[in-house]
């Protein structure tokens, strides 16, 4: 171990997954995942202890939520495709991937807002209604944060900041977006599926 001179070159700065920011994003994802864990724990806890009729009828419908889920999952694919563009220094592929992801994310938010307005209850009508809006609202806030990140990435791509070696912000933003999509699956399962499995 006492050999101190280096014989191999080292990457400089923030190269891809060796960037400090990549590790930092991982810690953010761990703590945000915990946040949703506690939020959903609260949902199940309150549902479990309420006598009956926790979820007001009609039970949540799939007509908007299911296509919305598909749209969000598709956006994970597009951001992945865009990130692949960074490996071949294709600014065009990066930009197209980002634009598609931003569009899909924005559609997701719009459909969610439509669904919010169609609900027969308000934010503080009941414990359930407050939970419904808090859980989906927390998730939507994360989607909006993700959209801002994607827009920043698009601007930076347009300014020519990324190439084959320098794309750490893209990798970091993309993993955050995947995380937001993964969390949606858990939220979707809790809010839309479990009422039909008896949690109501």
């Amino acid at each position: 171990m006492s050999e101190t001179a280096l014989h191999e070159t080292l990457p400089v700065g923030s190269p891809g997954h060796k960037a400090g920011g990549w590790f930092g994003m991982m810690t953010l994802i761990v703590t945000e995942a915990s946040l949703f864990l506690y939020l959903l724990f609260s949902y199940y806890y309150l549902a479990f202890w309420s006598r009956s009729g926790f979820v007001p009828s009609p039970l949540p419908k799939f007509d908007l939520a299911l296509p919305d889920t598909a749209i969000l999952l598709l956006s994970s694919v597009t951001v992945w495709w865009g990130e692949r563009g960074s490996r071949k220094s294709s600014r065009r592929q990066m930009a197209l991937g980002l634009i598609a992801t931003i569009a899909l994310g924005a559609i997701f938010v719009c459909i969610q807002l439509v669904e919010w307005t169609q609900k027969p209850f308000h934010f503080n009508s009941s414990t359930y209604s407050a939970l419904y809006f808090t859980v989906t609202g927390f998730h939507m806030a994360h989607v909006v944060a993700g959209l801002i990140i994607l827009i920043a990435l698009l601007v930076w791509d347009w300014l020519g900041y990324f190439d084959r070696r320098r794309h750490a912000p893209f990798a970091i933003g993309a993993i955050y977006w995947h995380f937001v999509d993964a969390i949606w699956l858990v939220v979707f399962f809790t809010i839309y599926v479990t009422p039909y499995l008896g949690v109501r």
Binding site: P11, V12, Y38, F123, G160, P169
Partner: protein
């Protein structure tokens, strides 16, 4: 000086003797700009660490003064030193201050100051985030203390049980200060923890494998991982409480499907791990410093490091032992009681390791040693009373009595404050260049130790006699006068002890900087540097071959010799070395950010945001969110000189 970074380089290795101007060059690159701007925008982990410690001590004094008023009120029966409302605010703010604004931040101060120095690094992984976490801590502390100016400090105790904290029973802004202040503070705690975790994973000197890290690194690393997992629970709980209070939702009220007990679950899922979070780093400080004062390595390094991690993990499975009296199902009580017994095992492992270290070493009875020895004694007493409260049937009798107050003070003052005071006597020369006075130090220790025990030992009895905690006063007949009077006198002596410490610090700071680099003849990397260390810490990046780089002469080392005077120079601008996670092999040359005003600006903007929420000024709140986003994007804008952007095509 600062060239355009290439993507790959072969970094230059130098012998310190061959390049006498290297330190001077590095100093120009690393030192903070003078003046107010430099003070606000400094990202030097050593200044940030010292700021954390000083600020935490100011909060310790405030919380201590609150406690002295509480003890004055309880000195004898039927007193009216303060009104019942003031009393509620005093004991609530005392708990909030000590647990959130003193206990963790003071340890963050130690870790901020020490991490890069003991790891052989030039800075933390995220220097600007480090400054940000300090400014947010300061702002959140001021935010909560601003409630006193309105005469509306939190008054529902630090664990803030619903439904008592809901508007029906707590109509003023008191609990809003607490709810929003805790969400605010959680930001500081979380980003600080992320920084410690990534620093441990990425910034260790070459050769510093996981098994060569000092125990204090294990302590803060475990606690930081715990913070990332636990703090969201309390931030969420306070957010839901704020919704209940502001918009009339029904999460914690007993109407509709709300559940007051949900509050207790969310709070203790956070707050029990928190108890370990605010002691594990202090246990780490002691595990590193105590053996040095016993002139030997710690007994059972691997066991102590493992016990540290195990304590944090088991600490997540015991939260409901705070809730035995709430009517949990017997099976749940049995489980949480058993888990609480099990957690005594790793604590005992550490305790026996310390005792064996003293037993088999040659103790040097400095003030720091006395504090560490006192720490062990009080940890044992607090641990034993903890075992008593972990037994569900016994707990039903003593919960919410002064027995619990005695227990938690033995644990928190014993393991946190005594560890911190000992740690300050030990690392003060490294932080300031001056050794604290030893003669006054002895007085300081004995007065503090006697005062503490006189104040809190009788409380076990007070509790067993049935006096509940948090009551404003008590009648004369049940015979509680004597024990309470002794506690009050003891707390005054304890206050004198802390005063002696402050006098010692003040006298020491007036003396010239004469501390040698290694006054305790210690083995770890921070003691290879001058006291205080230069802005860049290490002129060349050291290579580590053992847990005791400075003791290798006298210890049998099969793993070779550490090299401290020859290594990577990394002097092409502000540079640091990233190493691999497990084996600490050189992995990348990091371009470190310089001083930046954005952390301060972002913290200031967050203060506006939370003040707007408090006063329900929604438009100001919305505007400050936009401001926060703009500041964040500017902060994160990729910079050419940090090698975050591609080569411009025309170069």
């Amino acid at each position: 000086m600062m060239s355009v970074p290439e993507t790959d380089i072969l970094p230059r290795t130098v012998d310190l003797a061959d390049d006498p101007h290297l330190p001077e060059r590095l100093n120009r690159i690393w030192e903070t700009a003078p003046g107010l701007y430099g003070w606000i925008s400094s990202v030097d982990h050593k200044s940030i660490g010292r700021r954390y410690i000083v600020t935490a001590f100011v909060f310790l004094l405030l919380g201590g003064l609150e406690a002295l008023v509480i003890r004055l009120q309880l000195a004898s029966a039927n007193q009216h030193v303060v009104t019942p409302e003031q009393y509620d605010q005093l004991f609530s703010m005392h708990g909030i201050t000590m647990i959130f604004l003193y206990a963790l931040p003071v340890l963050s101060g130690f870790s901020n100051f020490l991490f890069p120095l003991v790891l052989g690094a030039r800075d933390m992984a995220f220097p600007r985030l480090n400054a940000f976490s300090y400014w947010v801590y300061l702002a959140a502390g001021l935010f909560m203390y601003a409630s006193f100016l309105m005469g509306a400090a939190p008054d529902d105790g630090w664990f803030n049980y619903a439904p008592n904290s809901l508007p029906a029973f707590s109509p003023g802004p008191n609990m809003d200060f607490y709810a929003l202040g805790m969400i605010f503070l959680g930001v500081s705690t979380t980003v600080g923890a992320a920084n410690f975790v990534v620093t441990v994973l990425r910034m260790r000197a070459p050769g510093m494998t996981l098994a060569r890290m000092p125990i204090l690194v294990w302590g803060t690393f475990s606690a930081s991982a715990g913070i990332l997992l636990a703090v969201p629970a309390v931030s969420l709980a306070f957010f839901l409480l704020w919704l209940d209070r502001t918009f009339g939702t029904k999460f914690f009220s007993s109407s509709d499907a709300g559940q007051p007990l949900l509050w207790q679950h969310l709070f203790w899922i956070f707050a029990h791990p928190w108890v370990y979070i605010i002691v594990l780093p202090a246990m780490g400080l002691v595990s590193d410093a105590l053996p040095i004062l016993c002139r030997r390595p710690i007994v059972g390094y691997g066991l102590v490091a493992g016990a540290t991690v195990a304590t944090m993990i088991i600490g997540f499975g015991v939260w409901a032992h705070h809730m035995f009296a709430t009517g949990l199902p017997p099976i749940a009580s049995a489980y949480f009681s058993a888990a609480s017994f099990i957690i005594a095992i790793p604590s005992a492992v550490a305790t026996f390791a310390w005792i064996a270290t003293i037993w088999s070493g040659r103790p040097q009875f400095t003030t720091a040693f006395l504090y560490f020895a006192g720490f062990i004694v009080m940890f044992v007493i607090g641990g034993m009373s903890g075992v008593v409260t972990a037994a569900a049937p016994a707990d039903l009798q003593i919960t919410d009595t002064y027995f619990v107050v005695a227990h938690l003070h033995y644990v928190l003052i014993g393991i946190n404050l005594f560890g911190v005071l000992g740690g300050l006597y030990f690392w003060f020369p490294k932080m300031t260049g001056r050794l604290l006075g030893e003669r006054l130090g002895r007085w300081n220790f004995w007065v503090t130790f006697i005062g503490f025990n006189a104040a809190f030992m009788p409380m076990h009895l007070t509790g067993l006699m049935g006096m509940p905690r948090r009551v404003y006063t008590y009648p004369a007949d049940p015979g509680l006068n004597l024990v309470n009077l002794i506690s009050t006198l003891g707390s005054d002596v304890l206050g004198v002890g802390i005063l002696l410490f402050l006098i010692n610090v003040w006298l020491t700071l007036r003396r010239p900087r004469t501390a040698p680099a290694n006054p305790w003849n210690a083995p770890t990397l921070e003691w290879s540097l001058p006291s205080p260390p230069p802005a860049y810490n290490f002129a060349v990046i050291p290579t580590v071959a053992s847990r005791h780089p400075l003791w290798e002469d006298r210890m049998d080392n099969r793993s070779g010799r550490s090299v401290l005077d020859r290594g990577l120079a990394l002097d092409d601008g502000k540079e640091a070395l990233a190493t691999t996670v497990l084996e600490a092999r050189p992995d990348a040359v990091l371009k470190m950010p310089g001083d930046s005003p954005w952390p301060f600006a972002l913290a200031a903007m967050m203060s506006v945001f939370f003040s707007a929420l408090l006063s329900q000024s929604w438009w100001i709140g919305a505007a400050s969110i936009i401001g926060l986003m703009v500041c964040t994007v500017i902060w994160l804008w990729p910079e050419r000189r940090l090698a975050q952007t591609a080569e411009p095509p025309n170069v």
